[in-house]
Each structure stands twice: as C-alpha cells, then as structure tokens.
Amino acid sequence: MADRADTRDAVLLAPIELTGRGFYLTVGLLSLLILWGAIAYWTQFDEGLGVTGLHQPVSWGFYVTNFVFFIGISHAGTLISAILRLSKAEWRRPITRMAEVITVMVLFIGAGQILVDLGRPDRMLNIIRYGRYQSPLLWDATSISAYLTASIVYLYIPMIPDIAILRDRVGKRKLLYTVLALGWQGTEHQQKVLNRAIAIMAVLVIPIAVSVHSVVSFVFSMTLQPMWHSTIFGPYFVVGAIFSGIAALIVAMVAFRKAYGLHGYLKPIHFRYLGQLLLVMALLWFYFTFAEYLTGYYGAEPEEMKVFQAKFSGPFWPFFWGMVLTNLIIPILCLVRLGRRTIGKVLIASLSVTVGMWLERFIIVVPTLSNPRLPFGEGIYWPTWVEWGELAGSFALFALFYVLFTKLFPVISIWEIREGREVGLKEVEERLLTYLPDTAEPRHAEPERGW
C-alpha cells in the first residue's frame, strides 16, 4: 500500500528532485523585477523620501497601501487551513500547505513595507527603545509579530512528516531535512504530539489573524480623519483580507497546477468550492463597503463629503469605480454560474479581486490624506518610478520566495493526501452516518451530553 502510494505521489516530489528550464526562467525574470525594486530602494535610501511622490499632506502612498494589501493576503492561510482543518472539510487536503506558505511569505513582505516607508530604517530601533502602547502602530508591531510567529509554527508543524519523507527519499540536502524532521518516524507517540500541536495552532491562529487585521484597521480608524474614523473598519478590513487571501490562493493554485502538473490533486471541484467562497466574500465585502459609504454620505459632514466626492467623482474616481468593477461586478459575472470552464472563470475572478483589493487599500489610504481635516490644501499624489519599482519588487520577491519554497518542500501535503486515501474516506462515511436520522452512531462517536 505504502509503495503504491509513494509512486502515486511522485509528482509531488518531482519539483524538488528535478529542476527544469522553466524554473531558471522564472527566477531570472523575478530577479530582474527585484533588481528594479532594489535600485529603487537604494535611490530612496541614498537621497531620501523626496525621490518618491510622498509629501505633505499625503505622507502615506504605495508603501502603506502595499502593507495593508499584503497583510490582508496573509489571511489566506488562516482561513483556508485553520478553519477547514477544524471543520474537517476533506477537500482542504491539497490546498492547506499552499495557503499556509502564502501567509508566511506575505507577512515578511508586508512588514518590510513599513521599513521602506520609514525612509530611514534605523528609526525602527526607536520603536524598540521608546515604543508607546498608546499608539495603534505599536499594537500593529505586536500583533504582526505574534501572527508571524504563529504562522511559521503553523506552517512548520504539519510539514514535519513530509520533511521526514524527503529525508528518507530525496538524495539531496540530507542534513537540512534530517534536522528539520526532528527525528520523525511516525510512532504513535509522535503522531499524538503532532496532532495535538496542529489542533492547538489551528485554534490559536484564527483569533490572532483576526486581531492582526483589526489592528491594521485601527491605525486608520483611531484617528479623526474623514472616512477613516469608523467603527466598522475592523470587521471591514478582516472581510477584505479574507476576500483577497482567497483570491491570491486561487491564483497560486492555478500557477502551480500548471507549472508542476498537479492536475490530479487540484481538481475543478477545489476551484468550484473556493470560487463559491470567493463569491460569498465578494457580496460580504460589498455589504460592508455599502454600509461604510452610506453612513458617511447620510451624515453629510462637510469634511467627510470632500473625501467622498473625491472618490466618487473627483480625482480618484477611476480607482473607486475600478475597485467596484474588479471586486464586485467581474467576480459576480464569473462566479455566479460555474458550469463549464470553472478554473478559467475562477482564475479571472481571482485576478480581478487581487487588483481590486489593492485598489481598495489605495482608495482608503490616499484620498483621505489628500483631503485632511487640518487646514492643508488638497494634496495630489503621483507615485514616482521609485514607488513603482518597490511595488514590482515586492510582488516579485513574494513570488520568488514562493517558488524557492516549492524547490525545497512539497507544495501539497503528501501525508495529508495519503491519510485522506487511507483513513479519510472511512472517517467521512462514519461521520456522515452521525448526521443522518435513524442511523446507528459509530462506536467512537461522542456520547450525547446534557440536553
């Protein structure tokens, strides 16, 4: 049984054992973009933030937009992996690892945006030495540290059995795999330890993830700036984060399915389920956006209305209506009927949402600063090549990290797939019986307590 399973899952180890021309091409292309980003950053480091489009009153632009966007995408790992794991959704098996990797990678990129935005990275030391917990910025630093730590642990622990497979089967990087496998031999005790740790982490990362994006929203909503000072910003940001996270996950799934020939693992049914989830999130996102904007419009407070009009019909209208198009209209058109060409439709919707959620973050950050409550003139923000370079470099760095990860570790959890074949089917059948009326409870089912 084990040998047959090994052969069946050989495709999952192939990217680690063999390196094709496509890999070098991808790395080369991404490196060029990263080089552009590095030159842009060096220019900014050398000459100061004056080389960017940032000025007074618009002191936050692309960098803070990227920060909120990347931290938002990190919710892919939490939602897909932790919630699906806890709810024992069997279709999660081939996608949890991809989701968890996204979380860890984008958190590094997202947190890095703050360093870039500071202009002088040495000022980060001031946070460590003189940080004040009255500031939501410090809440951010603390919650992102907790989330990054939790995400790394949550990625690593379920990888241990797979690393042991690599240690035993793959001929290279023996020391790395031996060290990281922590002596895994699949004994009963080790399995118990691992299962318990995964269960604890699955429960723990959900509130941490929700707190992270709530706190990111507090950076805006704790101020008195027009269209930022909102009580629903916390859940609004969390919904947007989950929405963009699912979209990013789908894009990654389609890319690796094609690149590594994972058609047998990532089937149309997975894309259909994720597509339906994306559609639900699109509607939820629209509900929050509608509630947020209607409240501001109905109140008609003059400072709020200046920002409101700047978004609706002023200088920011292409971004605002572009956001509505890409976050709501295109996803609905693509996802409302998923009959044929499921993967193509879900991919178009996801790419659209990825663009749309970046626009949404931009539309939140910049128009308010352009029309501040303080007596500044209206500020117009035009990003320079430096910010475009940082943007391209950040996306490329994320993609490069991801590609390099897949060269070292399986992008789909091998042991979870095997477990699905060997144990999952029987377990699902038994569980199904417990849902139905007039069927006998399986022996290990929990006895009914209380009422």
């Binding site: 917990y133 907790a146 730590t149 797979d162 496998a181 031999q185 699949g186 399995q191 330890v193 042991w415």
Partner: protein
C-alpha cells in the same frame, strides 16, 4: 484529528553525525526561546518605561496582558513539539 503518517524507514544522513543533528535541533528550540523571550522582554521594557514616565501605563499593561500569554502559548506549543518528537526518539 486524524493521524499523520509518512517517513516510514529511518536512514541516517550521510556525513551528518547524530550528535551534530541533535545539537542543531536543540539550538533551534533555544532560538525559539530566545526570540519569544526577547519579545516578552521588549514588552516588559515598554511597560517599565511607561510606568517610569507616568505615560499611561494602563495601556501597556492592558495590551501586554493579552500579548504575553499569546507568546507564551506559542512558545509552549513549540517546546511541546520539540520535546515530544525529539524525546520520543531518544527514549527508543
């Protein structure tokens, strides 16, 4: 939660002595203790500074009441996995 399997046969990495591997593995656990310990020390430093300056220490204390237990729980899980997996190997 179903049980993970995999990594059946055990073969030693060529050239990598068991001792070196063990040292690196425990060093990883030590690094986790240092990292999380560092964050907790930092949070404590911020409380002390706020207290010393009379700079709304209640905010620092309130937030650290949530943050420190979260970091300690994370450290607990990490050490549980390291001790649980590495300890099982040494027992046999």
């Amino acid at each position: 939660m179903p049980s993970p399997s995999g990594g059946g046969d055990v073969r030693r990495a060529p050239g990598a002595s068991d001792r070196t591997v063990r040292v690196i593995q425990w060093a990883m656990a030590g690094l986790a203790v240092l990292f999380i310990g560092g964050i907790i020390t930092w949070i404590t430093h911020l409380i002390r500074t706020a207290w010393r300056l009379g700079d709304v220490p209640s905010a620092s204390i309130g937030i650290s009441l949530v943050a420190i237990p979260v970091f300690l729980t994370l450290l607990g899980v990490i050490l549980y996995v390291f001790v649980g997996l590495l300890g099982d190997r040494s027992e046999r």
